[in-house]
């Protein structure tokens, strides 16, 4: 790094060096993705290309057509899978966000008995992976069943149940993350509002929420990602194909040992699964960067 980083535009040599470094990094980032693209076009359906070439011999879009036409063995269409994924992801995201921001506000701005103990309790479960609570969650949610004539509902065997299970992991994170951000927001504005006679609720809605937008965006996005990519719980809980999600379909193609994986279709499906989250991310990128970096702003 040159010390002449003040007003001088970077010299040509330095520019070239930086570009070379960044191009190299870009290649390492893109390489595995190009690999997936290459496999998705490969009609040979082999587990790995035997040589490094982007466009395999006889490349075709057949795998995409196959996957769109019949994503799984089960009677469920790709739009339905995508819709379920969206429902689960958006539900997890918004559910944990709405409840989390209220609690985060209280933890950041109020003093009340047991505050510290409760916050520790949240941070501890935040770190516990939800896989660890799989068995008890299953048993519990399964107890909520409604049977009335032809109508029967089992909370465990529903997207709502999976969503709740996911929220049990996403909510502590939302509270922790939002509290951290709210802690860094200067409280002068609220104090001013308070002096003007605004109630805490008014202060929260009119001042806190707009100020916390970047953190809300990050939390929403990470919650969305959790729901979108989840497959362990979904496979454990759901049995009706009309509730299945894209990630479940993707996992269904490989399994742990990846024997007999239809590689071309798997790769095509992987691209289909990854695309929407990439788009959501790119559209939220501006907020997300801000929401993760406010600590630095204050530094």
């Amino acid at each position: 790094m040159s010390s002449r980083r003040r007003r001088l535009p970077a010299g040509l040599g330095k520019q070239l060096l930086l570009q070379a470094i960044l191009i190299f990094i870009s290649l390492t980032v893109l390489f595995p993705m190009l690999w997936v693209v290459s496999m998705s076009l490969d009609p040979r359906n082999i587990s790995r290309p035997t040589s490094l070439e982007l466009i395999p011999p006889g490349a075709s879009l057949q795998a995409y057509i196959d996957v769109i036409d019949r994503p799984t063995s089960n009677p469920v269409s790709l739009p339905q899978l995508a819709f379920n994924s969206f429902l689960l992801a958006a539900g997890t995201s918004l559910g944990s966000l709405a409840v989390g921001v209220l609690a985060a506000y209280a933890f950041s701005r109020f003093h009340f008995p047991l505050r510290r103990a409760l916050m520790i309790a949240i941070v501890v479960v935040l770190m516990v992976p939800s896989v660890a609570a799989l068995a008890p969650l299953f048993v519990m949610l399964n107890k909520v069943q409604i049977n009335a004539g032809d109508f029967s509902f089992n909370l465990r065997n529903s997207l709502l149940g999976v969503g709740l299970a996911l929220i049990s992991g996403a909510l502590p994170f939302a509270i922790w993350n939002l509290k951290g951000y709210i802690d860094t927001i200067p409280k002068e504005l609220e104090e001013a509002a308070n002096l003007d006679g605004a109630s805490p609720t008014q202060t929260f809605l009119r001042i806190m929420l707009p100020l916390a937008t970047p953190a809300l965006a990050v939390t929403a996005f990470l919650g969305f990602l959790t729901g979108w990519t989840e497959f362990v719980m979904s496979w454990q809980f759901l049995t009706n194909p009309e509730n299945f999600t894209l990630s479940m379909a993707l996992w269904g193609m490989t399994g742990q040992y990846a024997d007999n994986t239809p590689w071309s279709k798997f790769s095509a499906m992987a691209i289909i699964v990854a695309l929407p989250v990439s788009v959501v991310y790119l559209s939220l990128q501006r907020y997300i960067v801000g929401g993760l970096t406010v600590g630095g702003v204050k530094g």
Binding site: S3, R6, W35, S47, A106, E190, G296
Partner: protein, 338 residues
């Protein structure tokens, strides 16, 4: 200055609300929805798990009309720390815990370091195509880990994997035979560095997870870098500080408050990184890269020893509690550094 961790917020409550509900009650009202939901779907299962951990709960007890499991006291707990798990050979609780911690710290340190360096490069004044690089560099974050793990596992293939092929291509320039790059990344049992008990698959996982982890740190660092006033650097230059000195005395300290919460988040994610390990190395060879969550999943999903798994979950929780408190202490202790 605060961190995202459990620090007492620097805020003092504004003088108590003058009318209506007392503030402490307001606070509880705000917390109520979260308390109800977490009570029902987070804490209740944990309590249930506590009870399970003192029993020999197994598949035969799952059935809704089954007899309750036998209470076995602390047997599950003692069996685990004594490695008395004959059905899982090479089960080594403390070894696994040590590996898990080493895995976490080695990853997070590298993620943060690489993330900062790349952010600084991206932040160089006059850099062209900045937006393009930024857009590319976030891709690893949004690709589902399931896909990442599967692809990298294929890339580490000894014969056809991209890693060995690339190494051989580079080695070929120096006249080395491709044979010398038949590296069995995932399967080789012998540690690549004599004397250090880390299998080659640890390094394969490390490479994969660095690929996965640095972009997040770069995003955080980039935002923080942009908020550092140029005046600091100008003043330092006038004082004659070199680029490296500026980096050490200005950039790093000012990045710290943003990087600490990010590193803590990274730590949690890495400590519990199930998908990547389960699908890339499967914990192998010989369970040397197994971490706590993959073992917890095996106990439930493969062995179906629910009682043992519950006890294991309790241990995991206690370990994480200690870890949280320790890192919180460390991040607080270093806070005055700025």
């Amino acid at each position: 200055m605060t961190t995202y961790a459990i620090t007492e917020a620097a805020t003092t409550a504004p003088a108590g609300s003058r009318r209506g509900t007392p503030r402490w009650l307001m606070a509880y009202l705000y917390i109520l929805p979260a308390a109800v939901i977490m009570g029902a779907i987070t804490y209740w299962p944990i309590l249930f798990q506590f009870w399970m951990s003192f029993t020999d709960y197994g598949v035969r007890n799952l059935r809704f009309d089954a007899d309750p499991p036998n209470v076995v006291g602390l047997d599950n707990f003692t069996a685990l720390i004594r490695n008395d798990m004959a059905m899982i050979p090479n089960f080594n609780f403390w070894g696994m815990l040590g590996f898990n911690l080493f895995w976490t710290f080695s990853n997070v340190i590298l993620h943060v370091a690489i993330g900062i360096v790349i952010a600084v490069i991206l932040n160089s004044p006059g850099l062209r195509f900045r937006g393009f690089y930024r857009a590319i560099f976030i891709l690893p974050i949004v690709i589902p880990t399931l896909v990442v793990a599967t692809v990298w596992r294929n890339m580490f293939d000894p014969d056809y994997g991209a890693i060995n092929q690339s190494l051989a291509a580079v080695g070929g320039l120096f006249g080395m035979s491709p044979e010398s790059f038949h590296i069995r990344w995932i399967d080789q049992v012998d540690p690549p560095i004599p004397g250090i008990p880390l299998p080659l698959s640890y390094f394969a996982l490390l490479i994969t997870n660095i690929w996965l982890g640095w972009p997040f740190m770069t995003i955080v660092a980039t935002g923080a870098l942009q908020s550092i006033s140029k005046e600091y650097y100008e003043a330092a230059s006038i004082d004659g500080a070199s680029g490296l000195q500026q980096f050490a005395r200005i950039t790093l300290p000012l990045l710290r408050p943003a990087m600490i919460p990010a590193a803590m988040y990274g730590m949690i994610v890495t400590f519990n990184l199930f998908n990547l390990i389960y699908m890339t190395s499967g914990g192998g060879p010989l369970r040397q890269t197994e971490i706590l969550v993959t073992t917890a999943f095996r106990l439930v999903n493969e062995q179906r020893l629910y009682g043992v798994a519950a006890a294991f979950g309790i241990y995991t929780m206690l370990i994480l509690l200690v870890l949280t408190l320790l890192t919180n202490r460390i991040s607080k202790a270093t806070e005055s550094y700025v």
